[in-house]
Subunit: 250 residues, 2 copies
């Protein structure tokens, strides 16, 4: 049995608590939040506290709070247990206390309302010693089938790549949605195309999968598209088109 | 029984022939290509021809050739049958012969090697008279569950939106893949995130689903990300970030 305490009440904390509470061989000891109301609904799962000095000895303490708050908050923890954070963009060495350190980063976009299947979520692990890494591997394998050993620099790059494939892609969906709405077209008409774009890259590389006017350097269609767009969308269209053409002519 | 002839040997023609040949109540009469070799493998499915003047009377003639070639090619058809093209970006009135006209546009990205399930592909229909539209609806419903009545202007807009959600999104996947490869990270680590980004917009609008540094106007993270990118990728990052910030501050 691995004993874990979780500090935080946001999306990541909530989903981790839910996954750990269902896992065999994991005991959630304490859940901390400075706002007790935010964690009241976990009162049957673990002991709740808003006092950072009352943390009991456990095998693993998980800090799941906002990125910026991690360094200062981590100083307040006096435990000798392994302490990890769950952030994609914060280095392991930003944990500033006198304890073994690590990172337990679930690579997924979480919203509180949506149930997630943790078994398919990649968990990126890092630790400052082998015993800690072994413990993290054990814990991660109890909730997920996809475990990766990723150092702080690589994790930073994953986070950067995620901005492109998640945040920016979502903005392109938003533009697609707006174009549809403005022309009385149901956006759902594009779902199968969006799904197929996503499926394709699991079989062939995105570089090979590229199609469209920019890939063909079809200036007539490109000009025609630009004429139909607002300046803000024109800039996005031009920038991405230029980049695609450059990628395939180099 | 609806009798159909298909003119063309590309991706769309190939997938349509495959779908129609499996459908009840559809008889493929002739398949035309100027290059007989390109359609030899259909010899057990229909009569083959490379002579545009030998087209026999059928209920429906489908032109599935490259966009640019449609107007000139369509002049050569002397049939009195309904003639449609399958293009997203070509107007119905670009069919220049003296016959009833229409459009039969399957909204999907096709590659010859990948099997597609036509039942889930949206088919956009247009015709210059009610009888033709009825016939197209009947044919479309024999291979797909998703039928939309879309005029030429709307179809042009769908094609434009598709560039954003398919071609440009794929290029962002390519950048994500490159960032991973350059840092010894397997690209597959991002698949669940990519899939979830796609799933989310079926439940909430992309506008609501937006997350990330640009959405939070988190200048510290944005600056940090820009420093890690090549000029080409910086331009994409800046342009999309600017557009996201603008979308949520207006």
């Amino acid at each position: 049995m691995v004993s874990i305490s979780i500090l935080g009440s946001g999306n990541v904390a909530t989903h981790l608590i839910s996954a750990f509470s269902k896992a065999d061989s994991i005991h959630i000891n304490q859940i901390y939040s400075r706002d007790m109301k935010a964690i009241q609904h976990f009162k049957n799962i673990a002991n709740l506290t808003d006092d950072i000095n009352s943390l009991e000895p456990v095998d693993l303490i998980i800090i799941a709070i906002s990125d910026d708050a991690i360094p200062e908050f981590s100083k307040k923890i006096t435990s000798k247990s392994l302490v990890v954070h769950t952030s994609g963009s914060v280095e392991m060495t930003s944990l500033l206390g006198n304890y073994p350190k690590g990172v337990f980063y679930p690579l997924q976009t979480f919203s509180k309302s949506t149930e997630v299947d943790f078994s398919t979520i990649p968990i990126c692990l890092e630790a400052d010693n082998d015993n800690s890494l072994k413990l993290l591997t054990k814990v991660a394998s109890l909730i997920s089938n996809k475990i990766y050993f990723i150092n702080s620099n690589q994790r930073k790059k994953i986070h950067l790549a995620a901005v492109f494939v998640n945040n920016f892609t979502n903005h392109l969906y938003d533009i697609g949605n707006s174009i549809c709405t403005e022309n009385d077209i149901p956006f759902e008409i594009l779902y199968p195309l969006i799904q197929e774009t996503t499926n394709k890259i699991k079989n062939i590389s995105p570089k090979q999968a590229q199609t469209g006017p920019a890939r063909r350097n079809d200036q007539k269609t490109i000009e025609n598209h630009l004429k139909q767009l607002s300046p803000q969308r024109q800039e996005i269209y031009s920038t991405l088109t230029k980049s695609i053409i450059k990628t395939y002519t180099e």
